[in-house]
């Protein structure tokens, strides 16, 4: 008996997943959990969610199902979760769009701060500033000078209103104090097609989409938008190195539950998220995508709440200044 329990303990410790479950006498979860992704299947956010969901399933001992509710720039799915039963069985995994929605949409059916319980940050995907292969500037310095000189003659692809690629472009133009000609696309996939074909000049997109093209030499990379260089693209400088010190942009993803969800459940989910993010498999898959799981101290409700509040303020100003609105 004693031997058995020692063995059990060892297994539990090794698994690390179940060690604290017995701490609170909760039987949550007793049924499958649904994570709503407010975008269509196959996109980067969907991929991130599926990876995390698989690891959380293992930890929670219940199936974690991913459900895609796309539409209206992610506000449809988010609105659905805001209105869902706060029983811990319907969650939302949303990205930076959660913080830009209040500025972009005049009548939002939910309040990002009030209608959700944050669970934790998941990942921050860096972005890259890229251009067609035969674009004239060679270095980041060249590019900045070129864009300043040519302004509206430079065409710049984005994935439409409120997309990460547009936000990045807004910040970039704001930092250089120039206007380029924005060319919207139905997603960054078609935009990449035109960039590869040399139909447009520039784009700013998540590493998830650009890394393989950069490595293959199909497009030029000028900079990453994070404060430090990133591991998958060690030769690409940061914007700070090019003189744009305050430029810091990453597409952060967070996990939320509807407001009013039991504190114990949130705690359990935070723990599960942290376990999932520490999973080697998740780490490797994230690395393939050109990103990394956030450290455990960021995968907390406090960190996500702080991030969300700060970002709502920041984007409110940028979007207002640019005069962009989805409605």
């Amino acid at each position: 008996m004693k031997k058995f329990s020692t063995l059990m303990l060892a297994v539990l410790a090794a698994g690390s997943a179940f060690t604290s479950v017995s701490a609170f006498a909760q039987d949550y979860p007793t049924q499958p959990i649904t994570i709503v992704v407010p975008f269509s299947a196959g996109g980067p956010t969907d991929t991130v969610t599926r990876l995390v969901a698989a690891a959380m399933s293992e930890d929670l001992g219940q199936q974690v199902v991913v459900q895609n509710v796309g539409g209206a720039g992610g506000t449809l799915g988010a609105g659905q979760v805001a209105a869902a039963n706060p029983d811990g069985y319907t969650l939302l995994l949303h990205h930076i769009g959660m913080s830009t929605a209040p500025a972009l949409y005049a009548s939002l059916p939910f309040d990002p701060m009030k209608d959700f319980e944050p669970i934790g940050l998941v990942t921050e995907v860096p972005m890259t500033i890229v251009a067609r292969k035969d674009f004239q500037p060679e270095t980041l310095e060249d590019l900045i000078a070129y864009v300043k000189e040519n302004g509206e003659n430079v065409t710049y692809a984005n994935a439409g209103i409120g997309a990460a690629s547009q936000l990045c472009g807004l910040l970039f133009m704001d930092a250089l104090d120039v206007k380029m000609t924005e060319v919207p696309y139905q997603g960054t996939g078609p935009a990449m097609t035109d960039l590869l074909g040399g139909q447009i000049d520039m784009m700013c997109d998540q590493t998830t989409n650009t890394t393989s093209q950069i490595k293959a030499g199909e497009i030029k990379a000028y900079a990453v938008t994070t404060p430090e260089r990133i591991a998958v693209l060690p030769d690409v400088p940061t914007l700070a190195e090019g003189g744009l010190e305050n430029f810091n942009l990453a597409i952060w993803h967070g996990l939320y539950a509807p407001a009013g969800t039991d504190k114990a459940i949130i705690e359990r989910l935070t723990k599960s998220l942290q376990t999932a993010l520490a999973d080697e498999n998740v780490g490797n898959s994230f690395a393939e995508l050109g990103t990394y799981p956030v450290p455990a101290d960021q995968a907390t409700p406090e960190a996500l709440a702080q991030k969300l509040e700060g970002q709502i303020g920041l984007w409110g100003e940028v979007i207002k200044a640019a005069g962009v609105s989805a409605q």
Binding site: S40, A41, G42, G43, D46, T47, R50, L51, A54, V66, Q67, N68, V69, G70, G71, A72, G73, T75, L76, G79, Q80, L104, P109, T155, G160, I161, G162, T181, V183, P184, Y185, Q186, G187, G189, P190, M192, T193, D194, L196, G197, G198, Q199, I200, T208, T211, S212, Q213, K215, A216, E218, N284, S285, E288, L289, V324, S325, A326, Q327
Partner: protein, 501 residues
């Protein structure tokens, strides 16, 4: 030489019994789910995608490819049997396929679709293996001006879809284009024609529209005077193609394969046009164009081949450049990434076993599809012997539940009812639904490419005639109109008293 050793490597992967098994499971599941009304290939793949996560990359992607072909074929089956297309290409199949089914020739229609698809798939797979990289490069020279001109050409040529009034067909296309504009404008974010409903921001759902104007409208037609006439389809005469059928489908299958293979390579929406283009070509070239729309087997074999060829060659931009040509390919990218492979120009060099394995498995998948579906033809046709009074409630419910299960959007169900009514009225008044669906899928593309071309050219419309490919396409469009209109005018002069409307 190199090609053969590469293909050898590919077949050694694809013919691994384990992989063949999963390919077969994929084809089977794809067919079974795709055959459900209201669930087209994209939805089928989105639903079945998670099944593949636990498999190793080669097996998972081979199974996924199997699901894709199965779903394509399943969708065509629904279009033929109950006039309910789940994807725009199947709307073309429905035109003559459903008429064939009504005449008791559902068997030959399904068999022609399966055989045509297999042939086209085989040829396109070979193209993919032999010429993928240069073809993908060539496709990149298509920018927005070229796509705009291509779509204009496609729209004008597609008047041939109608077997009745050309004027009404044109109006249906334009109505479709307008319905395609519903939703948030991607350029400015302005919500258009949404009645303030957030559910409409992403536009009308294709499946809801198709289910409404095809499926529900057809049911209402059948309820018109059911006391007097027998509704639904006639007893099945034969399951297999006759010698005459074989003779009739040979050339359409060949032409469809060529048309589909070429259009499928274009990542900006070429595959959408493939089935429509093939149908138009067959009707133009046929000695009996009057049979089209009344159960011409050429109108099933050609478009089905074109569609399957395009489905195959649309893998070219994905596999060689890492860019998705349509939603199904976007799902594939997601699947690649989940398997730890980033699709892009390097896959062919870094993962040769995977690259060639998938290509070889496409052929294997097509073969399995034929082996699986030819015997199933009998089963599907048997389903038609279910009395219509039992069948149509099933269609209504399956369509509602199927549509709901795709997006979880209640609004899509209301849209089915609305378009069921509008579709019924228009069909009753002598209009045909297929041009409407073509307009609907091309509307957003037409606007997007026109506006983008104008932005990039800084407002200079000459861009459409200065770029050679675009100019050639527009010239073709002009020629198509002249060819269509001139004989009409001449005939009208001769037969002023005969109204053929």
């Amino acid at each position: 030489m190199d090609l053969f050793s590469s293909l050898g490597l590919g077949f050694s992967v694809a013919l691994d019994p384990f992989n063949v098994f999963y390919c077969f499971v994929g084809v089977l599941l794809g067919t079974l789910v795709g055959v459900l009304p209201g669930i087209g290939p994209t939805a089928t793949i989105a639903m079945l995608l998670p099944i593949t996560f636990s498999l190793n990359p080669e097996t998972a992607l081979i199974m996924l490819a199997g699901i894709y072909y199965g779903a394509q074929y399943g969708g065509s089956t629904t279009a033929i049997l109950i006039n309910l297309p789940g994807e725009s290409s199947a709307a073309v199949t429905a035109i003559d396929g459903y008429q064939m089914a009504r005449q008791g020739r559902a068997g030959p229609a399904l068999a022609a679709a399966a055989l045509g698809s297999f042939f086209a798939g085989s040829v396109a797979t070979f193209l993919l293996a032999a010429f993928a990289p240069p073809l993908a490069r060539a496709a990149l020279s298509f920018g927005s001006p070229e796509y705009f001109s291509l779509i204009v050409l496609g729209l004008l040529v597609s008047i041939a879809l109608a077997h009745g009034s050309i004027l009404k067909a044109l109006a249906m296309i334009v109505l479709g284009l307008l319905l395609g504009m519903v939703g948030q404008d991607i350029y400015t974010g302005t919500p258009r024609f949404t009645f303030g409903l957030r559910e409409l921001f992403g536009g009308l759902n294709f499946v809801a529209l198709a289910v409404g104007v095809f499926g529900i409208a057809e049911i209402l037609r059948n309820l018109e005077n059911e006391r007097e006439r027998e509704v639904g389809v006639k007893a099945v005469k034969n399951l297999w193609l006759t010698r005459d059928d074989f003779r009739r489908i040979a050339a359409p299958v060949l032409r469809g394969t060529v048309i589909g293979s070429l259009l499928g390579i274009l990542p900006g929406g070429g595959h959408i046009l493939s089935a429509f283009a093939s149908y138009s070509a067959e009707k133009r070239l046929s000695k009996h164009p009057e049979q089209f729309g009344k159960g011409a087997i050429e109108g099933v074999a050609g478009p089905e081949s074109a569609n399957n060829a395009a489905a195959q060659t649309s893998f070219i931009p994905l596999m060689t450049l890492g860019i998705p040509a349509h939603p199904v390919m976007a799902l594939m990218i997601g699947a690649f990434i989940l398997q730890g492979i980033t699709p892009g120009p390097n896959v062919i060099n870094e993962q040769p076993a995977l690259f060639w394995g998938i290509i070889a498995s496409m052929w294997v998948g097509n073969l399995l599809l034929v082996i699986l579906n030819l015997p199933l033809v009998g089963l599907w046709v048997k389903m038609l012997s279910i009395p219509y009074r039992v069948l149509f409630p099933a269609i209504v419910l399956f369509a509602c539940i199927g549509t709901l299960s795709i997006n979880q959007n209640i609004f899509d169900i209301y849209a089915i009812a609305f378009f069921g009514l509008v579709g019924y009225l228009l069909i009753r008044f002598g209009c045909e639904p297929a041009p409407l669906l073509l307009g609907f899928v091309l509307g957003p593309l037409l606007e997007e490419h026109l506006r983008r071309a104008m932005i990039i050219s800084r407002g200079d419309p000459m861009v459409f005639v200065e770029r050679p490919i675009s100019a050639a396409l527009l010239a073709l469009a002009l020629a198509a109109v002249l060819i269509a209109v001139l004989p009409n005018i001449r005939r009208k002069r001769q037969e002023v008293f005969v109204e053929d409307d």
